[in-house]
Symmetry: C2
Subunit: 107 residues, 2 copies
DNA sequence: CGCAATTACCTAGCATTACTAGGTATGGGA
DNA sequence: TCCCATACCTAGTAATGCTAGGTAATTGCG
């Protein structure tokens, strides 16, 4: 509760949500919640700044949706974003393995 | 490289190192490196403040070693530290699973 | 023996970043 | 109609890993 375990992993999570389909911010929050079985229930104030940061870094592009009656900014992975997703996924698996190595060293 | 993936997980890693034996700071750095096959090669400026923080939180106690010719501050898990280790280990596994759920949702 | 590298500790300040807490606006259902 | 959910935004805060500096003592090598 108190600690912030997802520091440094949020970018990966958001990128992963957009891998197969463009989504708008609110839908990303929903997607994270569903894919993680409720574990990631992130406030908007967490996700929106991430989207802006990732767009600024040219990993995402966005445009206002015309499909919906509602005002929605839809985000899509750029080529660089896909590359970043691949790399961060790899880094995650390495990191995860390393933690397991340290924590599970009890035997 | 640029991002900080271990934010929020460092406490767990340090606590895990001390689960079976008391260690001094420098040895903890070494232990982390070895247990993770070189992945965690942390600067002292990262680890020492963590030790101080954990001691302040009463998860560790420390004393100057008399065993060695060198000046060493040896840290040991308190009862609360063991409890925290157990809890954070659990939280890590949940977190790890949640990330896998999001990232691996591609199918 | 002299000297450099390693061991071993410490801390002030920086940068990043998730989150809080506020705000705006619109559409749909009761 | 009126409220709730949807949907967006941002300024400021707190936490924390890291940089970059510092101090000493011990060990090993030439």
């Amino acid at each position: 509760m108190g600690n912030e375990p997802l520091k440094g992993h949020l970018d990966l999570l958001v990128l992963a949500c957009l891998e197969n389909e463009p989504l708008h911010g609110y839908a990303i929050i929903d997607s994270l919640k569903q894919r993680s079985s409720g574990f990631f229930d992130l406030p908007e104030g967490t996700v929106y700044p991430v989207l802006h940061r990732l767009e600024k870094a040219k990993l995402l592009t966005s445009r206002w949706s015309q499909q919906s009656s509602r005002r929605r900014r839809v985000y899509r992975l750029t080529r660089a974003g896909k590359a970043a997703l691949a790399e961060q996924t790899l880094q995650w698996s390495q990191f995860s393995l390393a933690v397991a190595g340290v924590v599970g060293a009890t035997s």
